[in-house]
Symmetry: C2
Subunit: 252 residues, 2 copies
């Protein structure tokens, strides 16, 4: 009999930010499979479990590995950072299953998790507390013109925005390009913005600044960037740390 | 000495969909405060704790109640469904604190949770697995023209979309109006869409249909609606249940 595959959103990585059912799914799995960085985070939390990791850009091989284990009767957790359905592995898993009849006996169960838009928001105050979009700046699977169109539409619709994958070795200037597109689309240079590095892990770093200041910042691949809407404000908290406040409505 | 206030996203309501730190915050609080419906869900999970609830539309009174308890030395959990910073209480709490110097000794700690966009996605397959927006159809705090502008921008930017608060007693036809705006903005009538009622609770109901079919559906206030992007597809899972598949990129 085939095993079951849990497609598990583990949140930012820390045990306490996992959901109860994510912890349970990992505990009842025979093997836990994921991208090297997240598997390493989980090994410390679940030292008794068996892990297997595949490098970045080998997502489809990672999915096939899960199906192979499940066809051999193993229960598998395929772990994703954040949520399993936000740029996660839920989509390629359902697609592979639909396209490969040999996988049809394997049951898939998606376990949602806390995505970086909300775990990062918690660090910065309330930057996304009204309608918002999530846009990835990675053009690995998406043409840059689509990303540009979405950044422009997001500003035109006056959404608050969370930017995922704002940088990588090959894309050092993408955040700067994105800021420039948002300014051209009508965002004010003093728009409230910020970013969080290593959310919920050692070395969490939070910065609050204006959109024109954001343009000059260096961020890394473990950063989530936040852009307020036109009404968002930077205010100061008890410890004099600035936070981003996006109000719940226009008439509060 | 003042107590601490945890602003806790509890997810959809079921214990297993709470994060470990949300459970811990509730356990270490002297009192748990929230909207009646969510407090009732939690009473079953934490029968030993003390709860206080306030009705809908009394959010500011609810916030003040939390500060009053904290000023009296109590640790408080202010519970929000889903995530605390997605249409949640993080924003009014930080705002009240900034505007009232008597609250300055009270520390606020936001605990993120699983928002309905991702808990509902897990039920429907992978509807939001690329860039997406969340838009609330409630015009209680937001002028309808702003909502209309955002729906149009979301379609123009080809985002997948999660619609929160799609209906209420006074707004029975709002989903129909929203569908009509999206069609006018260029969405195809066969766009993959769906909705989930009572996510993670008894009586979960999931429906997958086209945009023109969605227009004729009756949904209630405990429903989250999902609109795929222009590339999303309806595919069939092992049990012949339809799911919504939004691919991770344009070149997979």
């Amino acid at each position: 009999m085939s095993g079951k595959i849990y497609i598990v959103g583990i949140g930012p990585g820390a045990y306490e930010k996992m959901t109860v059912e994510a912890v349970e799914a990992i505990k009842k799995s025979d093997i836990i499979i994921g991208y090297t960085v997240y598997v390493d985070l989980l090994k410390n939390t679940f030292p008794e479990k068996t892990f297997e990791s595949t490098p970045m850009k080998q997502e489809i091989e990672r999915c096939r590995l899960c199906f192979d284990y499940a066809l051999n009767g193993k229960n598998v957790s395929l772990v994703c950072s954040g949520d399993a359905g936000v740029y996660g592995m839920a989509s390629p898993m359902f697609q592979l299953k639909a396209e490969n009849s040999e996988y049809s006996s394997v049951a898939l169960c998606v376990i949602p998790g806390v995505t970086a838009a909300t775990s990062g928001s918690a660090v910065l105050g309330a930057p996304l507390n009204h309608d918002f979009c999530i846009i990835s700046l990675s053009d690995l699977l998406t043409p840059w013109e689509v990303i540009e169109k979405r950044l422009t539409a997001a500003i035109q619709g006056d959404f608050a925005i969370a930017l995922y994958n704002p940088s990588s070795h090959k894309r050092k200037d993408y955040l700067k390009k994105a800021c420039s597109i948002m300014l051209n689309a009508g965002a004010d240079k003093n728009r409230a913005t910020g970013f969080v590095e290593n959310i919920g892990r050692n070395g969490t770093k939070a910065v609050v600044c204006t959109l024109s200041e954001l343009m000059e910042k260096d961020v890394n691949m473990f950063t989530t960037v936040f852009i307020g809407n036109s009404q968002s404000e930077i205010i100061f908290s008890e410890s004099n740390e600035p936070i981003i406040l996006t109000k719940r409505g226009y008439r509060v």
